[in-house]
Amino acid sequence: MSGVADREATQHRDRPGWAARAGVVVVAAVGLVLIVALVRSVGDGGDDRAASPLLGEVVPALAGPTLDGSNFDIDDRRGQWVVVNFFASWCVPCLQEHPELQAFVDAHEPIGDASLVSVLLNDRPEDAAAFFAEHGGDWPVLVDERSEAVVEFGVTAPPETYLVSPTGVVAAAWIGQVTQAGLDAVLEELSGSGS
């Protein structure tokens, strides 16, 4: 039906027809780019968090009042490994890892090669104090009222734990619960390489 019209029209390079076709090609190209990008995104498994940007960097300033009123400064701990644990009393995995942290402290305090400091994330000091009263643990707990430490370390949710070397460099990071064994393993590995 339109075959004849087709041929004749294209022979005469009908402007609207030609323009429309060019438009179609452009849109098709754009559409193709869009679809390819979408296909590649569907393949992705979703949100994969990049490794902490602090690894290998000098530890951010970590100083301030603790729960029991004294002052803490990580620079005072130069020369030993420091485990920085971000925590909140309302956080269920934190409760689960608490005995592990206690065990870690008990093991390393006599030796004096590693120590632990907890940092509160969006927690009221009274609630945290009640937590420690109930579950034990007498290592320093930084109140971090203005959330400076939280943001400096780029913490998104408790629990998160960072390992700082004796020279003040962030050496390892864990997102989620830790175990004493896990901490010790990494500690040994990094000490062994002489850093």
């Binding site: 940007p53 370390f153 949710a157």
Partner: protein
């Protein structure tokens, strides 16, 4: 004449009102305003696209507190954003960057606008010049074809 006067008076009225009242806009001045704007343009890293002002997540609360503190301490907007982007990733800054690949999202619409405006002007000019009334042989042939093809 009366109509022209009416238009002139209107123009003057609007101009006066605008000049007097319009410059309420401006870069946010007070610390509170700066803080607010920073919070509105920083996304919560673990929420589904909410900014830290809207979100109730603990980390959003932490970031809000830090924005307040740093604005009070006198840090510039760029510095605060740079820190947050460094720690939480570039995708917590709600405004795409002005340069690089990311800047394309600003450039492309402007380019498209220019092209579209030019295209519109050209089309209107061409149609006006052509008048669109001349019937070409192609048109006649097309109509004949359609007529003869009708079922």
């Amino acid at each position: 004449m009366g109509q022209r006067l009416a238009w002139v008076v209107l123009a003057v009225l609007v101009a006066v009102v605008m000049v007097v009242y319009a410059p309420g806009d401006g870069a946010p001045a007070t610390a509170a305003e700066r803080s607010q704007q920073l919070k509105e343009t920083t996304l919560c890293p673990v929420c589904d696209g909410q900014n830290v002002l809207e979100s109730n997540a603990p980390v959003a609360s932490a970031i809000r507190a830090q924005i307040d503190e740093r604005v009070a301490a006198g840090d510039s907007d760029d510095r605060i954003r740079a820190l947050l982007a460094d720690r939480y990733g570039d995708d917590v800054i709600a405004l795409p960057p002005a340069s690089g690949v990311g800047g394309l999202v600003w450039v492309v619409p402007v380019v498209a606008l220019v092209v579209a405006a030019a295209g519109l002007a050209l089309t209107l000019w061409r149609w006006r010049v052509d008048g669109g009334r001349a019937v070409s042989d192609d048109d006649r042939r097309l109509v004949e074809q359609a007529r003869s093809d009708r079922p």
